[in-house]
Amino acid sequence: MITVDVAGIGLLGPGLADWASGQVALRDPAGWLHVPTPLPAPMRLPPAERRRAGAIVRVSLAVADQACAQAGIDPAGLATVFTASSGDAANCHALCESLATAERAVSPTRFTNSVHNAAAGYWHIATASRAPSTSLCAHDASFGAGLLEAAAQCVALARPVLLVAADVPYPEPLHGVRPLPDAFGVALLLTPTLSSANGALQLRLGLVEAAPSPCGHDGLDALTRQMPAARGLPLLQALARGAPSELVIDYLSPLGLAVELRT
């Protein structure tokens, strides 16, 4: 088992505009309404890049900023773990479409943004951070893989680590083979337990062969199934409720992440 503190949380998804309002809905899902995920402009980026920023960059930077603001941590020295099932989905489609034409005209910007670590790159440029950063993918298990890696780094390197999990929908025809209905993002700022103040939210993580825990609400559980980044929702719900609890987060079935929340 590895133990970390949660110092900040970011959230963006359907009917979950940010962590401040989202935690109210997660505590009592009866008040949750399914409205499309807003995609806020990434104010950290220079105006030209802000306008061009793809959905994955918008979602990732929005939740990252929420978590850092809540923790009151300067992101300049912050190590990051970005995890995404799909990366810049619209950009990927546009590239494949261009490459299927006779001209094969590829724009340099499109190619640069096609790397899976584009969102991480923009974040580290915007925060002038030279701290280590990784970008992960584990298909449907991308949230669990990111949480495990971020917690492992936090403990092994004894430094705060910002986890950013995000997914955005593909346009057709990729949507037909990988239907992600909307954008979703979760950020968790993890800190070593020794540095924690009283009243901190503490996570103990381990690997277990068990089925993932549900949110216990049809709408939220549908989101959890439909979007890999939303596999973190049951954990966010537990964090919103703030009471000690034990749950299993989806990972590489039958392998799950056992999470014990201590407060």
Partner: protein
Amino acid sequence: MKPLAVSDYTVVSALGAGRDATVSALREGRSGLARKPFETVALDTWIGEVDGVDAQRLPPALAEFDCRNNRLALMGLQADGFAASVALARERFGPQRVGVFVGTSTSGILQTELAYRRRDPTTGALPADFHYAQTHNTYSVAAFVRQALDLRGPAVVVSTACSSSAKVFGNAARMIALGLIDAAVVGGVDSLCLTTLYGFNSLELLSPDICRPWDAARRGLSLGEAAAFALLQRDAARPRAWLRGVGESSDGHHMSSPHPEGAGAAEAMRGALADAGVAPDAIDYLNLHGTATPNNDAAEDLAVQAVFGERLPCSSTKGATGHTLGAAGGVEAAIAMLALEHGFMPGGLNRQRPDGALRSRYLDAGREARLSLVASNSFGFGGSNACLVFGVAP
């Protein structure tokens, strides 16, 4: 870090399949690059294509994973009996206790590029034989490796462009140190595709000539493809080498250009030395990232000087293998370990006229030498930097 045993490793690149073929080519100073077309690509460039990928077949149970990238991955698993070494580790530790950490930049995107040419003329739909999760998704290569080796532990793809498969050594080392797993298959697999050929061409980083790292007239990179794997274990009876240090950093500067003074690169090298607990003077040879683009080599040279001065023998092996992108970190980790095992520092190929502005001690010819500690640099788009330190087996 506590030194971590590398119980086995292998590499398949344009130089050939396995350690012996790779060492022979490096000793002979032979390049695997050739001026030839790939698929329907109409660019006049040199590529490092692996022989036999098209003829490689996957086991029937894994048929849905069939794509160039996973075929190449399987060639890597089969080279040097690597899969058999993993089977021993699986037996010893249990399949849940062996992780899989693979670096790739584009995974099986070629399969999607080809599928986009076969969209339904009426609906626009992709063909029914296109398998997104098993070929397109960035994770597909790790899913394939995990299933092919019958492993059930943690698994993930690191995709940080050209540093990907150097960074996986860090993921594995941390999880072993924390006791979450006992062993890990790490590596990198990237295969030729239209996205990277036309993409680097659009950025004017693709050399029309064979790539010439550290040359005064270098004009860019030559793309290659490769699969490289290593088996890391918390202990091993006869390790081939030791992983001694991992350093990672970000540039925080630009998406596709390195920091001009190589500040992030230097930080990764210093981080690796600190992790290994050794001074710069302890390193005997450095395998450079050395892509042969004008800016990359200049920035890396400054970073190497800032950390090591002008003393350290170094070379780029991309003139031999081509730039294998997400596989480059794994390929060059394997070359670094071959250098340790064989007491041989490979020379950098294709250099005609040294760039007087680059002051590192660049080796044009291979050299026999007793090596104790070697380092390998890998840097990628998005400003992602990694440096690995390997030590000789006692």
